[in-house]
Symmetry: C2
Subunit: 341 residues, 2 copies
C-alpha cells in the first residue's frame, strides 16, 4: 500500500497534537488504533511526532518516542512536521500557534470553535498564501459531517436556512429537566458529574459555544456572517421547570436552537431557546445529541443527527479532516526550512 | 470563471438525459435553473445536448436546440458527449445503453436502483477500464447524501451496521394507516393518487425497491453484498390496521426497515417490517421521508433524514454526482472516436 516515490520522509505523515484533553487524546488513540486504515487510505503511515501539554505532572499514556513538551517552539523545530492538530481551548495561544504552523508550511486542523469563530478567516487566508489546507469539521457538531455535507450541497443547491442544536450540554440539561422533573441547577450538576459541562458552564448555558458554531456555519452556508452584535444570543438559564412543564402539557418542548437564514442580501441569525412542536425535526433530539437541519432550494430539507461531542466522535471529525487535507488537490506535503519569524 | 485552455469544446460539458419522467425532467430543469452555479463550480458551461424519450406523442417543454429522440444510437453519434444521465426504470435497455456510453468514453450517472443493484459492479469495472466515473448517489434515498457520507466515514471508521427506511411509498402507507386509521388498500390508493406509488405497486410494497437499495448500500459500507437468496425480504402487505392499532397502544410503530450488518466475515441483511419504540431513530420518520442510520466504531451513530424521492430531491443527487464526476481526479473529459462495437 505504501508508495515509495521520493525521499523516505514522504512515506510518513508527521503530526503534532496541541493539547491532550478529551479531543487531543481521542485523536492520539484513534491514529494508533486505526493505523492500518490510515495507511490504506493515504498510502502513507501517519505518525504522531509530538504532543503539546500544559501540566508536566499529569500521567499520560503516550509512547516514549513521541516528543511531549510544554514548548510549542520545540515542536516547530522538529525536522519534519506535516500536520498540526489543535485541540486546546480559548483564542490564545492557539491562534498564534496555528499561524506559526501555517508559516512553516504545515496543514492545520482545529477543533477550537471559539478561536476559529474569531480568527478563521485570517487563518484561511494565511493558509491560502502558504498553499496549505485548514480542516475545521470538528468545530461544529462533533462527529456529524455537517461542514462536508453543506459544502457538497452547495455545489448546486442554494441554501435558504440552517438550524441547529449545537450545544450538547444545553440539550442534555433541557432533556433532564423535562424527563426527570429536575431544576436547572440539578440538571447542570448532573451534566458536570457526567463530564458534559465544565466547572464554569457559562460558555455552554449562556449560548456562547452555540454562537461560535453558528458563525462558522453561517460562513460556510452563506459565505459570510451577520454582524456579531446584531445576533440575538440567549442561553437556557432563564428556563424554569414550571415553563417546561407548562410547555409539555401543550405538547411542546424547549430546545436551544441556532437559526441562520438569508433574506435578500441580509444574513440573520439567532441563538436562543425556542418552543417547538412534534412536527419540528428537532423535537426528538434528546440528551447530548446534536442535530443540524439544512433547507435548500433543490433538495428540500435534510436533517443530520448524531453525537455532538465526546472523545471519539470529535476525534473522528479530526481524522476525516486529516485524510481530507492529505488527499486534497494541494501540492504534496512540503518540508519548508524554518525561517526566523 | 470559464477556463479557456484547449479546444472550444472543452469549455462546455455536454450531457444526454435518458428518460424524461420525474427524475429526468427534474435533472433537465435543474441544469437550466442553476446554470450559473454549475458554471461557477465547474468553470465550464453544462449543456443538455439530447434527451431520450419513449413516447413521441407526449408534449414536453424542451428547448428546440436539444436533440429529442427515441433512438439511443442517435445520441451516441453526437459529435461531443461527456456525461450520460440515466433516469429510466428496469434493467434493460438502461444497462446496455450505459455500457455503450462508457465504451464511448462518457462518464455515467444513474438513478436506476434495480439496474444498478444487478449490474453496478460490471459498470464500475467497465468504467475503470475506460477511465471514466460512475455516479449513483440518486439510487439510494433520493436527495439525502448517504453514499457520500458513508464514503467519507469509511476513510477512517469501521462500519458496524447500516439501517434505513429506504422506500418512501411504504413509509407513507404505514404512516397513513396509523395516523388516519386507514386500511392498507385505502392508504395505497392515496399514495397512488399523490403520485408516490405506481399503478402496479409491487416493487414498493413487496420490498423489492428497498432490497435493491440495500444491496447498493451493502456494497459501499462493507465492500460486498450478502448472497441475495439469503436476504429475508418482506414487504408491508401483511400488515393490517388492527396490528398497527395494537402496536400503537403499546407505544410502538411498524416501520419498513432495511438492516445490514457484518459479523466476522459475514454480511447479513434483512428488509422487512419491524416494530420499534420511541428510542429508535426512525420512530419519528413519517410520510415519504427516508432515513439512514450508520453505526461505526469511532463516530458512533449518525442518522440522516430527508426526502427520499421526488423530482428535485433526486435531481439534486444527480447534479451533485455530475459535479463530482467532473471534478474527480480522473483525466479531463475526453472525446473518443466512436468505434463500431
Amino acid at each position: 500500500m505504501i508508495k515509495s516515490k521520493g525521499a523516505d520522509t514522504m512515506t510518513v505523515i508527521k503530526v503534532a497534537i496541541l493539547g491532550f484533553g478529551t479531543v487531543g487524546e481521542g485523536v492520539y488513540r484513534t491514529i494508533q488504533s486505526h493505523a492500518e486504515e490510515l495507511t490504506a487510505v493515504l498510502g502513507k503511515k501517519v505518525e504522531v511526532s509530538a504532543v503539546l501539554i500544559k501540566n508536566t505532572q499529569k500521567a499520560r499514556n503516550i509512547s516514549e518516542d513521541v516528543l511531549v513538551t510544554t514548548e510549542f517552539a520545540e515542536i516547530l523545530r522538529l525536522p519534519q512536521l506535516d500536520i498540526v492538530v489543535e485541540a486546546i481551548v480559548e483564542r490564545e495561544p492557539p491562534f498564534s500557534f496555528l499561524k506559526k504552523a501555517i508559516e512553516r508550511g504545515c496543514h492545520i486542523i482545529t477543533a477550537n470553535k471559539e478561536m476559529f469563530a474569531h480568527h478563521g478567516e485570517e487563518l484561511l487566508e494565511l493558509a491560502e498564501e502558504n498553499n496549505v489546507s485548514v480542516g475545521y469539521e470538528a468545530t461544529v457538531a462533533g462527529g456529524i459531517p455537517v461542514i462536508q455535507t453543506l459544502r457538497q450541497l452547495l455545489n448546486i443547491n442554494r441554501i435558504k436556512q440552517v438550524q441547529g442544536i449545537l450545544n450538547g450540554t444545553s440539550n442534555f440539561i433541557l432533556t433532564e429537566m423535562r424527563e426527570k422533573k429536575q431544576s436547572f441547577e440539578q440538571a447542570l450538576q448532573l451534566a458536570q458529574e457526567n463530564g458534559f459541562a465544565e466547572a464554569d458552564p457559562t460558555n455552554d448555558v449562556e449560548g456562547f459555544d452555540a454562537f461560535y458554531k453558528t458563525m462558522i456555519l453561517s460562513r460556510i452556508a452563506f459565505g459570510e456572517e451577520p454582524n456579531w452584535h446584531d445576533v440575538e444570543r440567549e442561553g437556557i438559564t432563564a428556563i424554569t421547570s414550571e415553563m417546561i412543564e407548562t410547555a409539555e402539557k401543550l405538547g411542546l418542548k424547549y430546545k436551544h436552537i441556532a437559526t441562520i437564514s438569508r433574506t435578500g442580501d441580509q444574513i440573520k441569525a439567532t441563538v436562543r431557546p425556542a418552543l417547538i412542536g412534534s412536527e419540528h425535526p428537532f423535537y426528538h433530539v434528546e440528551g447530548v445529541q446534536n442535530a443540524v437541519s439544512i433547507q435548500s432550494d433543490i433538495v428540500g430539507e435534510i436533517t443530520l443527527q448524531g453525537p455532538g461531542a465526546g472523545m471519539f466522535p470529535t476525534a473522528s471529525a479530526v481524522i476525516e479532516d486529516l485524510v481530507y487535507v492529505c488527499k486534497n488537490n494541494k501540492p504534496a506535503l512540503r518540508l519548508r526550512a524554518l525561517t526566523t519569524n
